[in-house]
Symmetry: C2
Subunit: 331 residues, 2 copies
């Protein structure tokens, strides 16, 4: 068998490849390890829950409306830490650079990473650089890994019946805006990526109430994330289409592109399952930060095993995880 | 300015690029950060010294005598942790794979990583996979990052006058054997990479005596590592060429290739500066493990700022850091 693009798309097809890539007998350091396929691992050290995660970034183009590969590479790892309930502490930066790459562009990327680090309250503490021959790589790839500390770790597999589902903001912005920009489409209003650290809103939400489960809807989008949460938790989800926040401009662009905005990556959003009695407090806490201004309660956890959307015209439809991401190279 | 291959070679030229790549204002999480350019960072958390490091691996070919990119990718990170004095605990595995890559080869790589993890006593606890279009990458790149715990952190900048210098085994094996294999040279005796986790020998050495400074001589080889240690520590080094362990087959191959075996990467070796009174105990401890069987005291720390080699024919020569690595894509 050969690896194909669908294998890297974060959807259902990826499962085949994951069986090969996770065949480690040494896969756990005492807490939450590789077998859980959560957004990061949890390693208990001397009374602290250290969360460890990694993310490689291959986005094209390198600079796009709302961000660039540098901002994305910091937010990708910070957000994986944050959705485990961890304050991001220290990140690594590993760059693989094609011979001939512009040092000025590198400087722009580093400055953008630094800006995002400031927003997240984290630091790049160590790094690695490899330069490869011209033609053996397409520009630059950035991997970041990072550690954080979780006072109360949060998993993606611990939704409870009766929980309310919060989306911390509009969905589909990153994937739809990148694709539109790449295709050179003009939509009147300019579309922007949402790439941002979500730790500031998660920190406020954790202080405001009881978060049972969290995940950031990156590759595969909201549809992949909500299905994974439901499947791992052994529950069903009932969503209200009217409540799901999607920008009008993103919806229009998605219609023209023929892509479901719920199936493309978000890079500054989080999906939470929360105790209903804490809903008002948590929603207010999230909305008090600009990154969470459009947060909304979009549904609830029910018994069952499917994710169902009550549509605005009164019907119901299943929200299925995408087989593969319709937008390659978005993260 | 454009990035060129010399920038990635780990030698002096890399310094230019490093100024761009380390221009972070958020560069330290309270312990040893990016500014020290050590093999890893140290982050004090709740009374523990957490060491964090990262390494990307672009070696060609992927499978070579003595190892493969999988074994290399685990040992690279484990060894960076180990030379900071840290027991390796948990690693990440981030693979970027070209469309069309063989899943059988992936399985071999994962099995080899797992084998090395067992030798090191560490685990892969989380990962990331990206698949990119055919032609946009040359096969596979693997980044690993990792954390360890250092009871007594060891730096590369803390040599003291009077210290003895230990090489934990023969030098030049990895770089010379890879290049020989790549060039298709036959040398009668087969050459092998030395790629191996050094934590088992460092653990024994730490228990046996006082290690003042350590570094693993990877890119740029022993010449780069010993000069960096001397420069950062503000000392000179006097080496005895007769004592420096180099396999006869490696020396012969290096002569034919016209490459200094002290300037190419090692992937299973460590250079230490130790208290002279502990020399016998530490040397015995290292030699008690197969990976350290050829360990030797090769010199001493003196006043001054240069690394000088007393040659076997009675003269002296400076050991200079290489400008760039003569062997690209060895790690």
């Amino acid at each position: 068998m050969k690896v194909n693009l669908m294998h890297g798309a974060g959807g259902e097809v990826m499962g085949e490849l994951l069986r090969t890539l996770t065949a480690f007998s040494h896969n756990n350091a005492g807490g939450v390890g590789l077998e859980s396929l959560d957004d990061g691992a949890i390693i208990p050290i001397n009374g602290s829950n250290i969360v460890l995660t990694t993310d490689s970034h291959v986005v094209r183009p390198l600079f796009f409306p709302g961000g660039d590969i540098g901002r994305l590479s910091v937010c990708g790892t910070v957000n994986d830490l944050a959705v485990m309930g961890a304050r991001p502490i220290a990140l690594t930066s590993a760059m693989i650079i094609e011979e001939g790459f512009s040092v000025d562009d590198l400087a722009r990327i580093v400055a953008s990473m630094d800006q995002a680090l400031g927003e997240a309250g984290a630091s790049i503490v160590t790094g690695d650089t490899k330069v490869v021959e011209r033609g053996s790589l397409d520009g630059i790839i950035i991997n970041t890994a990072g550690i954080g500390i979780a006072l109360r770790p949060v998993r993606d597999s611990t939704l409870q019946e009766g929980d309310l589902i919060i989306a911390s903001g509009t969905l589909g912005d990153h994937g739809i805006s990148i694709l539109s920009y790449r295709e050179g489409f003009e939509f009147g209003e300019t579309l922007h990526s949402d790439v941002a650290p979500v730790w500031p809103i998660i920190e406020r939400a954790l202080a405001a109430g009881d978060i049972h489960a969290m995940k950031d809807p990156t590759r595969g989008g909201f549809a992949a994330a909500i299905n994974e949460m439901a499947h791992k938790s052994g529950v069903g989800i009932l969503l209200d289409e009217e409540k799901v926040p999607i920008r009008r401009s993103i919806r229009s662009a998605a219609d023209i592109l023929g892509i479901d905005p719920l199936q493309v990556a978000n890079e500054g959003k989080v999906i939470m399952g929360i105790a209903p009695e804490d809903a008002d407090a948590i929603l207010s806490a999230i909305r008090s930060h600009p990154t969470g201004a459009d947060a909304a309660i979009i549904g609830e956890v029910i018994s069952g095993s499917r994710v169902v959307m009550q549509t605005s015209i009164g019907g119901e439809r299943f929200i299925e995880p995408p087989l593969g991401d319709p937008v390659p190279r978005v993260c």
